[in-house]
């Protein structure tokens, strides 16, 4: 049996990269669209305040709500990033199985 650490590492990295390439665009798309919505909402709040339609206290409360919602979005981006990383790790671990079994010539793992 000849197992090459470099070959194994290459297979793992390729598998991990493949998963990240597949998943990352949807994470980025979500983050970008939510950032735009957040910016629009902030502009709305500022405009209402500038026009005198809402008091400072009301503006502060609306801004607090917006901060909470922006944080919720960032947490989702974090969660989706972790899920993508998880898939990449599991793909890399799966690649080890393939390489090892090929090297030994039978399903060792």
């Amino acid at each position: 049996m000849s197992l090459d650490a470099g070959q194994l590492a290459t297979a793992m990295i390729a598998a991990a990269k493949g998963q990240l390439k597949k998943k990352w665009p949807s994470v980025r798309e979500y983050a970008e669209s939510e950032a735009r919505k957040t910016a629009e909402t902030l502009v709305m709040i500022e405009r209402l305040s500038a026009l005198g339609k809402i008091s400072k206290e009301e503006a502060d409360l609306l801004l607090q709500m917006q901060r909470n919602s922006a944080n919720a979005v960032l947490l989702t981006v974090k969660g989706m990033g972790l899920l993508a990383a998880e898939e990449a790790i599991n793909a890399a671990v799966g690649a080890v199985k393939t390489v090892v079994n090929k090297a030994v010539g039978f399903a060792l793992i």
Binding site: E34, L48, Q66, L75, E86, I109
Partner: protein, 190 residues
């Protein structure tokens, strides 16, 4: 292990040397650990909790209740003849109670799940948003003077004000649903 860069005693070459030493051994170590992991338990790494259809469904319930509350406020705001008493915060106590109790149920369920800190943090943010909305309603109701734009204040949240309110609540609930569904969709084929 790879050729080390020539050492000439400065901090930079020491750093370069360390980098080179660490590259290959960490890849080998990871590979060994991965083999051990698969050989012993066929393990799958989990960084985030599993998809929970009950949480998914309960989030929808929270959204329905929140949507009903906001729709009621929007109708009151759009009617010029709305009586001040109709917008008294007391009139909405039941609506808030329903939403908060659904959030508590979600909180208890999700606190018990492993690798679920993100969802738990999001629930705290959503709960805070509902409480802040309640405060906002009270603040508006207690303002008895006309706003500086000259419009009479009947104590109801304004139509314009309810737009960012709805957007932030929608965004918060959607963020939570998005993550919950990602837990299912990212792992398809497992």
């Amino acid at each position: 292990m790879g050729r080390m860069p020539a050492f000439n005693g400065d901090a930079r070459s020491i750093k370069e040397g360390k980098k080179t030493m660490l590259k290959k051994p960490s890849a080998v170590l990871f590979a060994v650990l991965a083999v051990a992991c698969i050989a012993t338990a066929g393990c799958t790494v989990r960084l985030v909790s599993d998809y929970d259809p009950v949480t998914d469904s309960q989030l929808s319930d929270v959204y329905h209740a929140t949507d009903a509350l906001l729709t009621r406020m929007e109708l009151l705001a759009s009617e010029p003849t709305t009586a001040r008493t109709a917008c008294s915060p007391d009139q909405f106590a039941g609506d808030y109670q329903q939403i908060v109790s659904r959030l508590r149920l979600l909180g208890v369920r999700n606190a018990a799940r492993d690798h679920n800190s993100i969802t738990n943090e999001q629930l705290a943010l959503l709960t805070n948003n509902i409480e802040t909305l309640r405060k906002l309603q009270r603040v508006r109701y207690n303002q008895t003077q006309a706003d500086t734009a000259g419009a009479a204040n009947n104590g109801c949240l304004l139509t314009d004000e309810l737009v960012p309110v709805r957007r932030t609540l929608d965004q918060t609930v959607t963020a939570m649903m998005k993550l919950e569904l990602a837990k299912r969709d990212f792992r398809k084929g497992e």
